[in-house]
């Protein structure tokens, strides 16, 4: 049994195909005015990496401040601005668009056998809106920042703070439309542009999970937009919807805000789960166990996701009867998430597992997401929530889901499809090392925060009692390791663009349609419309294809 399934073409004769979507046209304008989904995906990849670096640097500053109990590195109000900007950048400019706008954009048409997304110009418009929102966020940061927290909680955001709430709100409003357009595009494409024979239950699970996330983007984001518009109107002309002295209710804002922002965490995690399905299947050489259940669990997460938002507000003065209802509904979301984890585990059972880099990241995802998800159940239980909410427990919980889950999945996906996107392989050993370093650094950073939270250290403060220092030093030290873990891929992936080995069409021997064409693909994706005559993840079909090739070559 070999320890790897990687099969690269003979490096002495292999060449990157002369004509592909990267070389087809040259010049900056050919990129800025492109309507090719693959080029737009690369534009997104570059801009998302840029904003991730900014958000990461802000995280580094936060951890550095928390190294000591006093607020000595920066003043308390600067600290408030730093963690707010960290949240805004990471959520709206990195996590929400991360997998859908890069990998989803690149892969969905390839996976369903289409030449492009259904609305290519809308796709480009969505990138420009993203950039406009991003520039506004940068402007906000330079012109003094905002200190409400990424949640813009009223009446703080409407009545008290004197920072750039309006420009940040506008930035998120604009970036929100970028996300709506991406979602709309995916929904129309998946409904209308599947290749002949590509039935719903032959779609790769990556497509299913992006479809579910797209529904959330289209239905949820407008509510956030309205909530932000109302905050702006309240601040500027005092319309009074959130002001009790005028008959309004400050909690109404949180209802509207979390109605989007809770589903938004599923917008962030669902596409990542799609990546994990693909990776686990490819590196255990098996069809995903319980394909239909995994597909429907994505949709179930999307639907249930709309009915649980009040668990963010348990200590805010909401009715205790509705707390009961929302607490119960929150438990329901754990079911489809668990279905996924169990099915991936069963996919591994008796599979021919190999440990390439994407698989290492996927294992990281499964462990860390499970911890993040289960601590979510603690927080969804209204009793324990009253003790744990607004402490570092909650910070650790959502970083386990978002960083340990989503970022691991994103990196798994980037590594998995890097040979398809660029035509070249990254160095295997150092990338495996990066995956392990990320995992270790992550646990060092965020596990102590669970303990800090149960001990009662509140979130969002620049100073803390001295007895919490040891765990905070652990966390900050872990963050430096984590930083190295993220720096490595940026370095060696850039290196591989020029010096990486030629990957060939299908280095992982995976079954998706995207692996059956040249890498990097042609601008038109497929020379002729593919006909799908087998199920997804059918490795026997792949074997038969290889036999045919050998027979015809001989």
């Amino acid at each position: 049994m070999s320890s790897t399934i990687v099969s690269l073409p003979d490096q002495s004769t292999a060449r990157i195909p002369k004509i592909n979507f990267i070389t087809k046209e040259n010049g900056l304008l050919s990129w800025l005015l492109t309507s090719d989904h693959k080029r737009i995906a690369i534009l997104y990849l570059i801009s998302i990496t840029f904003f991730f670096t900014i958000g990461g640097a802000l995280a580094g500053v936060i951890r550095l401040e928390l190294l000591t109990p006093q607020s000595d590195l920066m003043a308390a109000d600067t600290y408030n601005k730093v963690f707010t900007m960290h949240g805004v950048v990471m959520i709206f400019l990195f996590l929400v668009p991360s997998v859908p706008a890069t990998l989803g954009n690149f892969l969905i048409p390839l996976m369903i056998g289409a030449k492009d997304l259904a609305l290519p110009k809308i796709n480009l418009l969505s990138w420009y809106l993203y950039i406009a929102g991003g520039i506004l966020v940068l402007y906000t940061m330079i012109s003094g920042g905002v200190d409400t927290g990424w949640t813009f909680t009223t009446p703080l955001s409407t009545h008290y703070v004197n920072t750039n709430v309006l420009t940040t709100g506008m930035a998120i409003f604009i970036a929100g439309f970028s996300s709506i357009f991406t979602g709309l595009n995916f929904i129309v494409t998946i409904h209308k542009m599947r290749a002949p024979g590509m039935t719903w239950f032959r779609l790769p699970l990556f497509v299913w999970s992006n479809y579910a996330a797209s529904i959330l983007m289209v239905l949820g984001t407008p509510v956030l937009a309205i909530a932000l518009v109302l905050v702006a109107l309240e601040r500027t002309v005092g319309i009074g919807v959130f002001d009790p002295t005028k008959g309004g209710d400050p909690l109404l804002f949180q209802h509207l805000f979390w109605f989007y922002s809770h589903p938004a965490v599923y917008i962030m995690i669902l596409p990542g789960m799609g990546v994990i399905s693909e990776v686990i299947s490819a590196f255990s050489r098996k069809r995903v166990f319980g394909y239909t259940a995994v597909a429907f669990s994505s949709v179930a997460i999307a639907v249930f996701g709309f009915f649980v938002w009040e668990h963010h507000m348990f200590i805010m003065g909401v009715s205790s009867y509705s707390m009961l209802v929302f607490s119960l509904l929150t438990m329901l979301v754990a079911v489809p998430s668990a279905i996924k984890i169990f099915n991936w585990t069963f996919t591994l059972y008796k599979g021919s597992i190999t440990f390439e880099t994407p698989m290492l990241y996927a294992f990281g995802f499964m462990g860390l997401f499970t911890i993040g998800g289960l601590t979510g159940v603690f927080l969804g239980t209204s009793g324990t929530d009253i003790h744990l909410t607004e402490t570092y427990f909650i910070v650790a919980h959502f970083h386990f889901v978002m960083v340990g889950g989503m970022l691991m999945a994103y990196l798994a996906g980037i590594h998995f499809w890097w040979p398809k996107i660029t035509g070249r392989m990254y160095p295997e050993k150092i990338s495996q090392l990066a995956a392990v370093v990320t995992f270790i650094g992550f646990n060092f950073t965020f596990f102590p925060q669970f303990i800090l939270g149960t001990l009662g250290m509140p979130r969002r403060y620049a100073a803390y009692p001295p007895e919490f220092q040891i765990l905070n030093v652990f966390s900050t030290a872990g963050a430096t390791i984590l930083g190295v873990g993220y720096l490595l891929p940026i370095l060696y992936l850039t290196w591989s663009l020029k010096y990486g080995e030629i990957a060939g069409n299908n280095p992982w021997q995976a079954t998706g349609l995207e692996w059956q064409i040249q890498s990097p693909p042609l601008t038109e994706n497929f020379l002729e419309v593919p006909v799908m005559d087998h199920d997804a993840y059918d490795y026997e079909w792949l074997e038969r294809q290889k036999e045919k090739e050998v027979a015809s070559a001989g």
Partner: protein, 113 residues
Amino acid sequence: MSEHLDHEHEGGPKNDYEEHHIVSPAVYATIFAALLVATGLTVGASYIEMGVFNPIVAIGIAVIKATLVVLFFMHVKYSSKLTKLTVGAGLFTFLALIGMTLSDYISRAWGRW
């Protein structure tokens, strides 16, 4: 949804779009007139004091008007089931937002804390 599966991918506009229903000017004129009447009703209702029913009547008329616009001006009445489902999904989400939020408001311990 399976009826969409076998259609030709490159099949030109005939297959890509649902058949367009031509709506006669008479229908548009009738709907326009109905919208004008409803606007008049809203203005009229604002002069009558109905207590708690003031907003209910105003919003009720507005919902009827919006429904007419969506069904006729936006052609949803003549569209495929998929389009209707899409509109329905938006409506369902909106009802979830309002209904579940009200579950807090109607059962809160108003004035007892």
